[in-house]
């Protein structure tokens, strides 16, 4: 039938839509040019695999792919918008329609899946809408508050405690025996508390965060915090323009968290930070050559550990994504993308 082969030709060659079929159990049975363009796999690489390979690990763990098929079976079709994974591990914001395909007798033959990549469109829309404005405002307000708290603690609380410590040491020199020992212990307690408060202010308001540019700020942070201790760093970027302030803050804060982890956990010798303009946003990698994650990081956050969760939340609130990987012995990578669209002042 010529009509059918024309249709096949069309499906096969459309590049703006990923159009492909799944068998009733969810294995990929066909793959068009659009699917290869959007998702990165060739037909040879992906046909035969289960379509959950296209979902972020957290969604797979939550049973999302299977649930989507169930809905499509029950209701005939399912439409969804969300993050999907490309072959290279990056993500794209997808509009997905899954249609249950039945034969004349109503038996399920499989599913048709049509996917569009809306990453850039969503980035632009969200930057311009009310939500984007609110987000920018919130990010800014949070930074101001953190800075104020850090300065208050630094200029007031810490100074007073330092003075108390100095006075206790002075007092100790004038005492003897058990009194001297007691006062010395008191001084040690004050001293330790000062150390903890310094760490707090440092985290709240790290060096570099007030810099005028993102790259300059990260460089200052890396110079001061990361280099030394046998750890070297490399920072590369291809940013043509400074991202909007709230985007820069989000990127800085996620990098800060990732770099804190590198220093604290990785036992690495080198760390690489890479920033690249991509899809109306900024794509960032923080990669170390340490011992990697002991357990599959992002899916089962451990209680009492907030760094990985915070990185992901920050990226997602900004309309982006964040993924963490690193098998034992291979070092760890935190990779994220956040939209960077200037709103322009009204």
């Amino acid at each position: 039938m010529p009509e059918q082969s024309d249709l096949e030709l069309l499906v096969q060659n459309v590049v703006d839509y990923a159009i492909f079929m799944l068998d009733p159990r969810g294995h990929i049975v066909s793959w068009n040019a659009g699917a290869e363009r959007i998702k990165g796999w060739t037909a040879g690489e992906i046909v035969g695999r289960h379509f959950s390979a296209l979902y972020p690990p957290a969604d797979v763990a939550a049973g999302k792919p299977a649930r989507e098929l169930e809905v499509a079976v029950a209701e005939g079709r399912l439409e969804d918008e969300g993050w999907r994974v490309r072959k290279d591990g990056t993500r794209f914001w997808a509009n997905v329609i899954i249609t249950a395909l039945r034969d004349d007798q109503g038996r399920l033959r499989g599913f048709g899946k049509v996917t569009r990549d809306l990453t850039e469109r969503r980035a632009v829309e969200r930057a311009l809408d009310e939500r984007g404005r609110l987000l920018a405002h919130l990010v800014h307000a949070q930074e101001m508050e953190r800075r104020r708290i850090a300065w208050d603690v630094h200029d007031d609380t810490i100074q007073s405690m330092v003075a108390v410590g100095m006075r206790l040491q002075l007092l100790a020199t004038r005492l003897t025996g058990e009194h001297q020992a007691a006062v010395t212990r008191l001084n040690d307690t004050v001293d330790a508390a000062v150390g903890r408060l310094r760490n707090l202010t440092f985290r709240l308001h790290p060096p570099g965060i007030d810099s005028t540019g993102l790259v300059e700020g990260l460089t200052r942070y890396l110079d001061q915090v990361v280099s030394g201790d046998g750890l070297t760093y490399e920072l590369t970027h291809d940013l043509a323009a400074e991202p909007p302030p709230e985007t820069s803050i989000t990127i800085f804060r996620i990098c800060q968290e990732a770099l804190t982890n590198v220093r604290k956990h990785a036992r690495a010798r080198a760390v690489t930070v890479r920033l690249a303009s991509a899809e109306q946003g900024v794509h960032v990698w923080v990669n170390d050559d340490g011992h990697g994650f002991e357990h599959a990081g992002e899916n089962d956050p451990e209680p009492g550990h907030f760094g990985l969760i915070e990185m992901r939340e920050r990226a997602e609130i900004a309309g982006g994504w964040c993924a963490v990987r690193g098998n034992p012995g291979e070092g760890a990578t935190v990779e994220f993308w956040v939209p960077a669209v200037s709103r322009g002042e009204p």
Binding site: H154, Q159, M166, R167, L170, D191
Partner: protein, 123 residues
């Protein structure tokens, strides 16, 4: 016995400048000749007393760096020691450019502060 080493203390935080003066005064061979609460006062008192060492807060009204420059101009023999709550490279560089060679972080043990002041006086 040689003459005691004369010291000027400048800090806008009263708790700090009082205890710092007491700590230094309690040391044999050191005597605190002046205590200032801001940069302008520090420069004036340095010119008046020509201390061997001036211990300056970095963030005080008028600026620790300004005070350091003024003291070096008005009392060239005075050695300047910075005493700061901030250890970031920008603050340290700023003081270094103002001619300060010793930078002490607040929170160091008193013994380390005293030792640094003595070193500055002889160095």
């Amino acid at each position: 016995m040689s003459d005691p080493v004369t010291v000027l203390v400048a800090d806008d935080e009263p708790l700090i400048r009082e205890v710092l003066a007491e700590v230094l005064e309690a040391e044999p061979g050191l005597t605190v000749v002046a205590v200032a609460a801001d940069a302008g006062e520090a420069a004036e008192l340095a010119e008046l007393h020509r201390p061997a060492v001036a211990v300056l807060d970095v963030r005080m009204p008028g600026g620790g760096a300004w005070a350091a420059r003024e003291i070096r101009r008005r009392s060239p023999a005075t050695r300047v020691v910075a005493f700061s709550a901030y250890g970031d490279s920008a603050s340290v560089d700023e003081m270094r450019q103002a001619g300060v060679t010793t930078y002490l972080l607040k929170g160091l043990p008193n013994t380390a502060i005293v030792a640094a002041v003595r070193r500055a006086a002889t160095g």
